[in-house]
């Protein structure tokens, strides 16, 4: 029930239903599993880890908050509050962009980089165990290609409104 087979119908067919269920499990349970590991071992969330990692990869470990929000798939208020916490622990520093006072530049501080380097190995191991180990090399390639397309579509949806 709740699904008809006609390909033109508004419903999903059986194969689509299976894919969709698997994707739902992944988008719900995978972040939860990553959060549990990082919270237990490092006291930070998966999202916070991502913010530190993105900053660390930027030139001079510095980015505008709006750019950082975009690459982290974050809203501005959410990132703003994460930066409040990070600044309180001296993991990052904020300052107005000298070129345009509307922007704010965030720079990863030593303590923040240390936190990232310290928590990375266990986190990466968890990612490998949950995502890469179950797949063959070919499956990884296919998965990467498919996810890249979906990610691009979702990003357009998010930004375009």
């Amino acid at each position: 029930m709740m699904r008809l087979m006609d390909t033109q119908s508004p419903w999903l067919d059986d194969d689509q239903q299976d894919l969709w269920q698997a994707l739902l499990t992944v988008v719900i349970a995978l972040p939860a599993a990553l959060d549990r590991q990082l919270q237990r071992d490092a006291g930070i969330s998966n999202f916070e880890y991502g913010v530190l990692a993105q900053l660390s990869m930027a030139d001079e470990a510095t980015m505008r908050l709006s750019d950082l929000a975009r690459v982290c798939d974050s809203t501005q208020p959410r990132l703003s509050k994460v930066m409040d916490r990070f600044e309180a622990r001296d993991w990052v520093a904020r300052r107005p962009d000298p070129g345009d006072g509307r922007y704010t530049l965030a720079t990863l501080a030593d303590a923040g980089r240390h936190k990232l380097v310290e928590s990375a190995p266990e986190h990466v191991a968890q990612v490998k165990r949950l995502v890469f180990d179950p797949l063959s090399a070919a499956q990884r390639r296919h998965l990467g290609a498919a996810l890249t397309r979906i990610a691009a579509t979702v990003r357009r949806e998010t930004e375009g409104g």
Copy 2:
């Protein structure tokens, strides 16, 4: 930086990094996009939609809460609070399992089924647009296979502790 190429290293190589970034975007931005659509059009979250859908597919539209929590990848407190809201709107009814008073049976009520049927078309259309339309038939098969493996691994992680 933050990534070395050695396959034995604790880091991800470039291809893995790309896959991982795409997966992060999907697990973060896809639920957000689904939530926005459902919240706007139906006033419910993606998770709440999933609860209604799972119940609707069960025999007699009735399930034990613990089973429902499992198929929805939910904790028990989270599901318990969703059921509070649903019961307040007469979308579901809860009663003790006659066979074992520790379990609670949840049954989808008419109003709940109506809500599901009413909100399904736009939601399914959104899923098709964001997930299926960007992919070829072959990519869908490959994606389904890969996600099924990852989902199984994550479920084991979640249940096994």
